[in-house]
C-alpha cells in the first residue's frame, strides 16, 4: 500500500498538469519538484537489498558521489534550462533526481555522523549562495525564466536555507542523542 502511494506520488509529480505547473516557475522547479523527487527517491531505499549495497559500497562514498554529482549537474543554470524547455530532458532530470535521492538514502545509512552533517551544512551554504546570487542578479542567468521569476526563486532559496539548516541540525541532534546508547552513529538519520 505504501509502495503504491509512493509510486503514485512520483507519477503525479512528473506528469501533467502538476509537472507543467512546477516547471513553469523556477521556484516551483528547484524548490518544490526537485526536493520532493529527492525525498521520494530517499524513501525508496528500502527496495535496495542491504547486502548488495554493503558489498558494493560499504561506506556509502560511491552513493554520495552519485547524489552530489547528479544534484550539481542539474542545478547548473544551463541544465535547468534544458529541463525547463524540453519534456524529454525533464524526464531524464526527474529520473536522475529520484536516483540521487535513492543514492543519498543508501549513503546516509553508511556514512559517519560527521560526514552526514558536513554534507547537510554544505548543502545549506550552497542554497544560501545560489539564493543570494539569483535574488540580486539583474542579468538573466537562466534562459527559460523571466528575471522576476529568477529573483523570486532566489528569495525563496534564501528563505528555505534556514529551514534546511534547522532540519540538518535536528537530524544531527538525533544522531548525537543516539550515540551514548549504541556507541555508534544512529543509522538513517
Amino acid at each position: 500500500m505504501i509502495r503504491l502511494a509512493h509510486a503514485l506520488a512520483v507519477l503525479g509529480l512528473v506528469s501533467p498538469p502538476l509537472d507543467g505547473v512546477l516547471r513553469a516557475s523556477m521556484a516551483g522547479h528547484v524548490l518544490v519538484q526537485v526536493p520532493l523527487l529527492l525525498l521520494l527517491g530517499d524513501r525508496a531505499r528500502g527496495a535496495v537489498p542491504a547486502r548488495g549495497a554493503d558489498r558494493l559500497d560499504p561506506h556509502g562514498l560511491a552513493s554520495l558521489a552519485f547524489a552530489v554529482g547528479a544534484v550539481t549537474f542539474w542545478m547548473l543554470p544551463r541544465s535547468l534550462d534544458l529541463a525547463a524547455l524540453s519534456t524529454p530532458h525533464a524526464l531524464v532530470m526527474h529520473a536522475t533526481m529520484l536516483l540521487a535521492g535513492l543514492a543519498w538514502g543508501l549513503a546516509r545509512q553508511r556514512l559517519p555522523f560527521a560526514v552526514r552533517g558536513a554534507v547537510g551544512i554544505l548543502l545549506t551554504a550552497c542554497l544560501l549562495a545560489m539564493g543570494g546570487f539569483y535574488a540580486s542578479s539583474t542579468e538573466l542567468v537562466c534562459g527559460s525564466y523571466t528575471l522576476e521569476l529568477q529573483q523570486e526563486a532566489g528569495g525563496a532559496m534564501l528563505a528555505a536555507a534556514p529551514l534546511l539548516l534547522a532540519a540538518v541540525l535536528w537530524a544531527m541532534g538525533r544522531s548525537l542523542a543516539a550515540l551514548p546508547a549504541t556507541g555508534r552513529d544512529a543509522p538513517g538519520s
Binding site: D54, A65, G69, D81, G143
Partner: protein
C-alpha cells in the same frame, strides 16, 4: 578489505564520471549558463562573426560588413522588451560615456533589434539616449527563424517565451576591424568593461 577497495574504486569512478560529464557539458568548465554556452558554442574566441544585414534608425540598409576597419561594440535588444533591455541599454550609454572620444573615432556602438522593430521606434530610442554620435540603433533585416539562426551563429541566445516576448542575453560583443568577435562583456560591469575595451582597442 576487498569490499573497502571496491567501494573506494567505485566512488572514484562515479566522481570522475560526473566531473568528466560536467567538463564536457560546460565546455571545459567555462559555460555554466545557456548564455555563456551560446557565446562559446560556435567556437573559441577570436572567431569570425557572421555579417548582420540591418536597417538603421533612419531606415537605411547596411551591414556589419560595411563597418569593417573599425571596432564595433554590439548589443541585442527589442522594443517590446519589458525591462531588461532598457536597463542594458542604459548601461551601454554608461559604457559610451566611459569610452569618451574613442566612440565614433575608433569604436562604433550598435544596438541591434531582433524583433522587426520599425526604424521610427529605433529613432525614438536613439533620441531618448541623446541622439549620440557613434551609436546606431538598427533592426535585423532577417525575419522568422533566420533571425534566431543568425543570432545563434553570432553567439547570442534568444529564447521565445510563451507570452510572445523573448528572454535573451544582454552581453556586449566586441568585434575588431576584420569582423572577428574578440570578446564579450557582461552588461552589468560597466567600469570593468570600459577598462577592458580601452585595453583591447588600444
Amino acid at each position: 578489505m576487498r569490499q573497502v577497495r571496491t567501494g573506494a574504486a567505485l566512488a572514484i569512478l562515479v566522481a570522475a564520471g560526473w566531473a568528466g560529464g560536467l567538463g564536457v557539458w560546460t565546455l571545459g568548465f567555462r559555460a555554466f549558463s545557456s548564455y555563456s554556452a551560446a557565446v562559446l558554442g560556435p567556437g573559441p574566441l577570436p572567431r569570425p562573426a557572421p555579417v548582420l544585414d540591418l536597417v538603421n534608425h533612419d531606415g537605411q540598409r547596411f551591414s556589419t560588413g560595411d563597418l569593417r576597419g573599425r571596432w564595433l561594440l554590439v548589443t541585442f535588444m527589442y522594443g517590446r522588451c519589458p525591462g531588461v533591455c532598457a536597463l542594458a541599454q542604459a548601461r551601454v550609454a554608461r559604457v559610451r560615456e566611459g569610452l569618451g572620444d574613442l566612440v565614433g573615432r575608433r569604436i562604433e556602438l550598435l544596438s541591434v533589434s531582433f524583433d522587426g522593430d520599425p526604424p521610427e521606434l529605433l529613432h525614438a530610442m536613439w533620441q531618448h539616449h541623446g541622439a549620440p554620435a557613434g551609436w546606431r540603433m538598427a533592426v535585423m533585416a532577417d525575419t522568422g527563424q533566420a533571425v534566431l539562426d543568425r543570432l545563434r551563429r553570432f553567439g547570442v541566445l534568444v529564447v521565445p517565451r510563451p507570452d510572445g516576448l523573448y528572454n535573451h542575453g544582454t552581453d556586449l560583443y566586441l568585434l575588431d576591424g576584420a569582423g572577428r568577435l574578440i570578446a564579450t562583456f557582461p552588461a552589468d560591469r560597466v567600469e570593468a568593461t570600459v577598462a577592458a575595451i580601452r585595453a583591447t582597442t588600444g
